[in-house]
Amino acid sequence: MSTKATNTKVDPSGRTQATKPATAGNNLLGLTPYLGRYKGAIALGLIALALMGIFGNVIPLATGIITDTLTGNPEPFQTSEHGQVVIGATWLSRNIPYYAPHSHQTLVIYCLILVACVMLKGLLSFSTRWILIGVSRDIEYDIRGDLLSRLLLLEPEFYVRNRTGELMSRATNDLNNVRMVLGPGIMYSATTLVTMVLAISVMLKLSASLTLWVLLPVPIVFFAVRHFGKIIHEMYEQIQASLAALSAKVQENLSGVRVVRAYAQEEAELRAFDEPNREYVSQNVKLIRTWSLFMPSLQALIGTSFLIVLWQGGHQLLRGQISLGALISFYTYLGILVWPMIALGWVTNIFQRGAASVGRLNYILEAKPRIDDRNAIIPPQTTIEGEIEFRTLTFTYPTNRSGLDSNNGTRSNGNEPQSILRDINLRIPAGSTLAIVGPTGSGKSTLAALIARLWDAPEGEVLIDGRPIREWPLDTLRRSIGYVPQETYLFGETVGRNIAFGLPKYDLSQVRAAAEVASLDSDAEAFANKYDTVVGERGITLSGGQKQRAAIARAVIRDPRILILDDSLSSVDTQTEERILTGLRGVMRGRTTVMISHRTSTVQDADQIVVLREGRIIERGTHDELLRRAGYYADLYQKQLLEEELERA
């Protein structure tokens, strides 16, 4: 297990705090390998962005020059009151050609410069956005792909520790937060930097003191956006949570509508609904309080900057320190600085949130698979014969959360984790059939799961064909196994594709043959689109028995050396069971079969039957031998015989 995972704390809700927020900056550095792949594009985007800043910066200057030409100022941005030049940007007048006061020609030239600059700026801003935001989507694609690849490698234990919902939220919300850093985060911080540096350096040339005055509101805007942004974000999350609560309430009520009516609980339900409804409204009202303050105050703060241009700029103009053109330029510069001012606060929030999310993504991306091929030394193309052996196997689930296995048998009553299997010695010759019976929670499913390495048994305690199971490549091992799990899980595809799930290529004739073995053929033919009928989410449109038979077909179609049937006939009636067993018997011939069942009728033909109880083998032998022993098995047999007779009566 990865060191990261050992360091994380799992609180009861299953949420995992990956890393402390203090390491936020370091977290973001983790993104550099992803950025590295696109460094050419990013560099290009940033160059475009810088050029865009330069052209954008000319626009306010041009408006100022036009104004000065109209006022008849002999040199733009220079004031000559009583014949003396007080202050001015002489470097500008030297670099600005064709300038003449009161000249129509100058006016036209600068109007054209204005248009040319905004066109170029537009072109560059298009490229910037297209490249930089595009790269962020590319990286999002890469990270998402990596997330899935990692998830595919992680063993069931990881999924016991981390709930689906939690993993989903990492793969969606956190990924989005990271994407925000890579796209708007980088783009807007660069834009802000470039625009501010360029604009401020020109403004300083025009009038240093006015620049300082005008920028007074900037820090206030920064902190306001940062502060409000954070609060609004938190409130928004709370609103989402209360909306979820509201939905859950409605869902619960509507799903149980018959019960509600039967017990005449409508009035009570209305009252019960009122609470989440009210809560949702009050959460929203809280946000409104902040929001209604935030937007107007932002507007007022930015307005203050313009007020300062009028007040302090007017003061300097009247004292002959700046020209009217310079004042208008300041006004226009403020116009292009408004967004960077806001972006400053906004972007810091994006980075902060993103850093936390990188940590949460790394929890998946850096999770080390515990079950892998590190000890695999057998060449992958070796075929497995199917002999299985357990040697003094004792197994304990590594995680202390209870109820994690499908048979619910691992509830530990103290701090000491209890062994689910103890001292199991068992050899299943290749091609033979082993049946496992025993009460719920005795460890039957666990034993089967160890054969497919869903969990790892202690080293050397499970052997396949005489070799320790870990020496087999995982892929080779699992390719040789047809597994019918206790709890059927189908995918929202067609019946046919579900059956062919483990085939490299879809083949209808194989699907048909497998369905026939599992007695699903007549059902499937009766579906609206036969094998092309979509089974819905988790196979919701199929009955329990149909699902189980689809799962059997899915295992059989792989032509496996080892067939594992984990209580896989529980949802079919005895007649169908008989039919399936007949079909399976043909398939089982020559294959190693491990069959778990509660019914003695299912297992009586097995070569070997073991009875598990509290993780130990308490009886073993053939059907006849076990009957003679008059133990648990014989008892079970008698009971079921009796039941059958009652049914027949």
Binding site: L167, L243, R258, L307, G314
Partner: protein
Amino acid sequence: MSNTHEEEALGKAYDARILRRLLQYMRPYRWRVTLALALVAVVTPLELAPPRVFQMAIDKYFVPAMGGSLAENEAWHGILLLSVAFLGVLIFDFLAQYIQIRIMQRVGQQTMYDMRGEIFGHLQRLPMTYYDRNPVGRLVTRVTTDVDALNDLFAAGVVTMINDFFLLAVMAAYLFKIDRKLAVDALAVLPFILAVTYVFRKFVRDANRNIRTAIAGINAFLQEYISGMSIVQLFNREEKARAEFGRRNQNNMLAWRDAILAFALFYPAVEILSIATIALIYWAGGSRVLGSTLSLGVLTAFTMYATRFFRPIQDLSEKFNILQSAMAASERIFKLLDEPVTVQSESGALRLDGPKGEIEFRNVWFSYRDVAEPTDEDWVLRDVSFKVMPGQTIAIVGHTGAGKTTLISYCCGSMTYSAARFCWTA
């Protein structure tokens, strides 16, 4: 997934009947709404004030002072007065906007609260057959997502739309008032803005639809494969899963490309249009300033106004989409609310004051199909008569589909009567 298209179907943006019915919900809050609307008359002039202030500063103080016809002292006095006025504008604008947003958002929330309660209450009274026809998930959407879509309309939509309309109208009128010729130049950009905005919105809407579909595809896949991970691994399905996920992942990326393109084109287009307008104003107006037929202040004010067309127009086009989805949502909601409640205590119904518990079925016939002449197979219960005395326990036995559950549902009043005579006896 198959429902998303149906759920997203955008109807007309305006339907007088629906709008009138929606406005009914605002009735209880009409005074507050009136106040918010009255504030429109305050906010608009305040938002138009800053360029006007600069115009006055330039024409009355800066230019005369620079020309030497006005003493520096007097000019400074005037600028100070204008600055104070500007400050006043900022403060009043802040207050007016604060009050307006606050009122409307609150009214929106209250309206939503009422509406949600009404829908939920109605759902409690609808006949069971309604639930057989409508999946629970969709009904949950009515109470949550659909109502929220209306919130956007109530809270922000109506008043901001009026705000924006008013702002545009007043601004155009004002520009015409101060200089008719220049106003024509300044407003020449409007058709272009409208066209660009329209195309952009349409583009973005299509892109968003694709994005939503793509994201739904990714999420559904993740949900399914994370939950069924051990099956994926047991059946060596990793490679195929990676390929399939890669496809969905790519779809998402491509869908976003469209949206990025739309935004990457739109923002520069807006800027080019507004700067081009400014250049046009400078060019046309500047010549007149040089010929002394236009004041510099007015010219400057025009360039400042020219950049102020975009926000309200962009706003309006955004609100138009909100209006569209709100109309679609309200249509769905009203359809639910108009669903007749069939089982109701009739006016003549007896109050059951502690019924003793005697139940009698007298010749009950029942069919789930709501047709005038049920065919023979339609009848679930046929002429059922029996009596249960208080305290008695009866057992109902029969095959699946024999009508056992229907019989029980009857007692609970879940079904409507057909040829029924069914008595609770007090």
